[in-house]
Symmetry: C2
Subunit: 284 residues, 2 copies
């Protein structure tokens, strides 16, 4: 199905498109935002950075509050802001909690009923959405794609990168869930989407377990605020990811940012750094 445009908004010298399409993987209409820099054209297509949002978010939060567009415009990079789950599937309980079901797809393909009917955000983000975008927007370059994300979306960015060597030119994350098998958010989500006992599948979507298996070295940028309550509660566990990196000889840089919290004020402060990180690989 082709993508429909709900709005075209002038933004930082380019345009922010509010888009929707009927998605097979998630069995519903999916909305998302796409920033195309003013420099992009079909003869000079722009590379693309995917920004995966966190729990409770839609594709709007990053577009309105993340301020990726400022640096992306300067660098000539497009940014995709997808939604975080299917919507309106009418699965019993899907809207009951903020950290599971709608707004909390965790970028996995659920295997457990009833969520296996539509909660396929892994396939949606890695396959169906990029195919739909690149077949329609000729001013974007499908051969140059990077990924970043926040919190649950940081988990998404890290795992999608690590599971698909070569697919993304670079990865970075803001306050990511790095070891979901060992934190309450991840345990709840993986139990619900995979079942409590399918620990093999859990490990296949756990960045800390995936990192040592990655075939090349890495250059992963992570920012975490020391004032982030979810960091303090042990939902993010960046130290586990750092230890795995050290043990495996992988290059991972975690910046612990004094006093910063989990909000979009934190993200917007460091968004420029993450676009720069992607630009190193997208523009070389």
């Amino acid at each position: 199905m082709s993508i429909e445009t709900d709005a075209t908004i002038a933004d930082f010298g380019g345009k922010l498109l509010k888009l929707k399409h009927s998605a097979k993987s998630t069995n519903c209409e999916m909305k998302f935002n796409l920033f195309i820099p003013g420099s992009a054209s079909s003869s000079k297509p722009a590379p693309v950075l995917f920004y995966l949002a966190g729990l409770t978010c839609t594709g709007d939060n990053g577009a309105e509050k993340g301020f990726f567009q400022n640096k992306a415009s300067e660098k000539g990079i497009a940014v995709v802001f997808p939604d975080t789950s299917p919507r309106g599937l009418k699965i019993e309980g899907e809207d009951d909690s903020y950290d599971f079901g709608s707004g909390a797809g965790f970028y996995v393909d659920a295997t457990k009923e009833p969520y296996s009917n539509g909660y396929k955000m892994y396939s949606y983000i890695t396959d169906e959405l990029p195919k739909a975008i690149f077949s329609q927007f000729k001013e974007l370059d499908s051969s140059r794609v990077s990924i970043t994300g926040h919190s649950m979306g940081g988990h998404g960015a890290l795992t999608l990168f690590l599971k698909n060597p070569g697919k993304y030119k670079s990865v970075s994350a803001f306050a990511p869930i790095t070891n979901p098998s060992k934190c309450p958010w991840g345990e709840k989500a993986f139990s619900g989407y995979f079942g409590e006992n399918d620990k093999q599948r859990w490990s296949e979507h756990d960045a800390t377990e995936l990192l040592p298996k990655y075939p090349d070295n890495t250059d992963i940028l992570i920012d975490v605020g020391t004032g982030d309550n979810f960091y303090k509660q042990g939902q993010l566990l960046p130290e586990n990811f750092e230890k795995a990196a050290k043990d495996a000889g992988k290059n991972v840089k975690v910046n612990y940012r004094e006093g910063y919290d989990h909000s979009y004020f934190f993200i917007s402060t460091f968004a420029g750094d993450h676009v720069e990180h992607a630009a190193k690989y997208l523009l070389k």
Copy 2:
């Protein structure tokens, strides 16, 4: 009454404070946001830019979506994001429309009953709020203050600047209502706050009428989007303001920005330019 702090949020190397205080002029508790750059201290106090928001907004919109902090941090300028009206006064009808009453104080002191009881945003913004801020935050410099604003807040910025020569070092505006006596929004607000017949008072709060009376030359920066529906509907009338400037020999620069709308995507795109404009006067 002293200002209470609801939250302190690390932001662009400084901090965003979510504040509230009991205000006499508006007869209620007023909330606002204050960004203090990391460079500010009591021995090196920062100059201050007031950002007045538009219809329906609170002090949160500009702080979350305006992107002023990026350039303000770089320049060492603090930014105040006040609310747009009193709240909860229980005046009959005050919550009935988006363009009058709550969220729509128009930065005037109402003289007509019942709004004369508390709808005193002119006194609040020019007098009570700055006094409260500067008596409490010694890292801010009360002698260096500029003002900007959006839409209704652009009207506020222009009129407060023009009515108080010397009080503000500079002024700029995003898609401002420049001639409220001649547009539907202004006619409704001034009729409700001043009465239909007090045209003298209307003219005292109309930037296009105030501009020729300003005792010095000006350097006023205005951005307006050509895709702004409120511009197209004749709510903003920047051409009237430009004509008044030309006739009076005042320096007013209106940039008509191709395709931009009235949203915070427009504001965030040009926020850096407006902070630069203020910095020319605040930092010299």
